[in-house]
Amino acid sequence: MSTTASPARPRPTIVLVGHGMVGQRFLEALAERGLTATHRVVVLCEEPRPAYDRVQLTSYFSGRTPEDLSMTDPGFLTEHGIELHLGDPAEAVDRAARTVTARSGLTVAYDTLVLATGSSPFVPPVPGRDAEGCFVYRTIEDLLAIEEYARSRATTGAVVGGGLLGLEAAGALKGLGLDTHIVEFAPRLMPVQVDEGGGAALLRTVEGMGLTVHTGTGTQEVVTGADGAVTGMRLSDGSELPTDMVVFSAGVRPRDQLARDCGLTVGERGGIAVDEQCRTVSDPHVFAVGECALAADGRVYGLVAPGYEMAETAAAAIAADEDGRKSFTGADLSTKLKLLGVDVASFGDAHGTTDGCLDVVYADSRSGTYKKLVVGRGGELLGGILVGDAEAYGTLRALTGSVPPIAPEQLVLPAGAGAPAQLGPSALPDEAVVCSCHNVTKGTVRGAVTEHKCTTVPEVKKCTRAGTGCGSCVKVLGQLVTAELEASGVEVDKGLCGCFPQTREELYEIVLALRITSYRQLLDRYGREAARGGDGCEVCKPTVGSIIASLAPTIGADGYVLQGEQAALQDTNDHFLANLQKNGSYSVVPRIPGGEITPEKLIVIGEVARDFGLYTKITGGQRIDLFGARVEQLPLIWTRLVDAGFESGHAYGKSLRTVKSCVGRTWCRYGVQDSVRMAIDLELRYRGLRSPHKLKSAVSGCARECAEAQSKDFGIIATANGWNLYVGGNGGATPRHADLLAQDLSDAELVRLIDRFLMFYIRTADRLERTSVWLERIPGGLDHVRDVVVHDSLGICEELESLMAAHVAHYRDEWATTIEDPEKLARFVSFVNAPDTPDPVVGFVPERDQIKPDLPLLAIGTRPADTVLEGSAQR
């Protein structure tokens, strides 16, 4: 099947060897420059499939198919007349004759040859390395083979190499359910990217996930059994590690054999030597790009972004277009990865090799966070390492080389630890590169919004390519787009979500005025055209569910949130009347009004926790949280609690949480009012009130403020003459001291003002807007709110009070209602087809005499069925 190009050679020919990530990018660069129209382009591809996204390889194990990974749109090749030969690697180059011969015998004459052969995994020369059960991790075929072997004959796996790829491979083995070991020669994980401190943070987290790490030890031999398959590894410290399979991930070597064989110059440690145009130093007709190339700066780049730049550079050189002249003189090695769920990022001079540079380090070994910035003498940011929390990566990377507008330590401190407002992307200069995969600057992104009229991140991605590589810059892109849109005064859609063009406040008015009690009816009549008749979304369903619940008695809806269609609107927590935890179990929080509880009730809580094996903790809200309940246990637990006189504490709802109290006048020598009684009264009055966000309150018996009332949505502090009412306080991420709304109120005046205040907030706030944010946002702020609720400037106070009165009169405990309704109770099962079987991935392990979630169990995902299906009611 040998063909030779026709001697007439109507069009010059470009031959590309290797259709990997960089090869594909090179083809796109040719097409963009019109070279595919003027040239014949032939691609020799060793793998059985066209280029795919190798960077995302591991996502195969989270459900991405080989087709999803493909980078080659089939139309692209045909549209540009590119000839692709799959499964047919180049075997020889005759530079004198300018021909390439492939394995099939195909020989193609070239005018220009481009080598993009990538690299091959380095397998250390240890005995047994070729045994059955040894693998490398580079191609889709490698993954398929690893998966097959792991599923059919392995329970333990070892990865040789604790670098970036080794950790990816280890994550994959772990995900396949293997007991996974990592063997790393260096004294720490990811020795190239992180320093000692970062390695330590990484190690703790990786071990916490149930992987076993052996650092500072090499692999001496792969041990095999009688059948020739792997049974273990001998390590350089003499110990033996039993394992059923070994994945070598100990670095890569440029694939330069083809180049060596035809006499092209290669570097001492490998790599095809090229100049700044990516032309080989030996032959002007031959280029090399990507991981197989030794760049003009003497380095081989193992990352995709520099490869893309080389592809562009080579295409520009071949086109020889004036303005397209580019050169590749080296690249940034910044990376941000999510390995085993841990963010790891390094950028710039991460190891601090610049003369006279200084480090700023923040480390928190409890949370596995480590951040280091390298700063130059003049205060300029040179580089850094982030482990565990790489939030700031996009901004920091873009700031590299400049003097940051705020002190470096404030860039690494966690929010709340004395750091002022986080440094936003607005602080970046226009030249700052925000997307290093595609070398896109802030200025270009801004231009996409102002000149190309992009209004969303997906549009900006399409327009500039930013964000389409590793994706680590997408967050910064979002911030830039919003800032730019706001600055240019573009009308930003204020609608609640993709389903409703109205704000939450407008929907509230519609529901109240028209007495609408059905979400579907509201959507079909008032939703956006395209959303009508659909199923809504996760934003508007709970929002409308909450509005209906707040107004229930007044509009004639059922106040019980699981009634009829309303059940489908509730967030998961409200649907199960409990708080979902990270492993799929729930927490239970009974209401303890004002924090006051009798010994008998305390004993009941203790007994229930003991009998159901729940983890017990005193909360910051003066009550007790019981964690680790399985969904099918919730009704049993609540039957006991309701019998003992407890009610739902609504810890799961956007509704009143607690009214904390201090002990007050009854016992305290300073107290001037009965703060406990007032707290209980208020908690019982507003319990169950659904609102835009959660509501918290506290009552202090004197100005010493032991209940911290000024950090609450509505806080009350006793005075000699009555009560002072404070509103709009907040703890949380953005704390705010409450503002004084009114002074020296009587009990009745106090309650009336709170009724009005809360109902006005419920009516006008956005979804998930705490009172603190609402108070700052609404026009006129505190003065306006005071005018409305104290002086009745809008004439709505009577209505606000009667709405609250209706709520108070119709309150019913949700849990008491639920345990009496068999149809609702039937929903509290892990499996609809096996109601007696608990979810097998909800497991617990002991800690400090109680339980905690078994997280490694989650990583495995499933357990064999025979152990779980037994005895369950199967139809």
């Binding site: 959303a531 489908a568 068999p822 087809n833 357990r863």
Partner: protein, 117 residues
């Protein structure tokens, strides 16, 4: 003790390899919400009914957390396509393809589902 769950005589079935696996009576599904089913091999499927009466089934495991909770998420329609939002960290998954709408590198398995008398 009054009502028992309403029954419809229509059974929901999932396709597993070449067989249809019977899960439950259609009456157990609430439009706009999901239920979880335990499959014979220990995997879990999340089944959903939309308001038009269409059924969907995807893997119940949330790939971001590992917890088997997708059946407990809120459902909706995004650009005409049905989705569920994970109740843990809120990533959305297309119910007919399993594709995660917030991270294109993630997809969960889907199952063919039907009702049979």
């Amino acid at each position: 003790m009054t009502l028992a769950p309403e029954t419809t005589d229509l059974m929901v079935q999932l396709r597993l390899a070449d067989d249809w696996f019977t899960v439950c009576d259609l009456g157990r599904l609430l439009p706009g919400r999901g239920v979880a089913a335990l499959l014979p091999d220990g995997r879990q499927a999340a089944l959903f009914l939309d308001r038009a009466g269409r059924l969907y089934a995807i893997d119940n495991r949330d790939p971001f957390s590992g917890a088997a909770v997708l059946s407990r998420g809120l459902t909706g329609t995004h650009q005409g396509r049905p989705f569920v939002a994970s109740p843990l960290l809120k990533q959305r998954f297309d119910l007919s393809s399993g594709q995660c709408l917030d991270d294109e590198s993630v997809r969960v398995a889907t199952y063919e589902v039907r009702t049979a008398a």
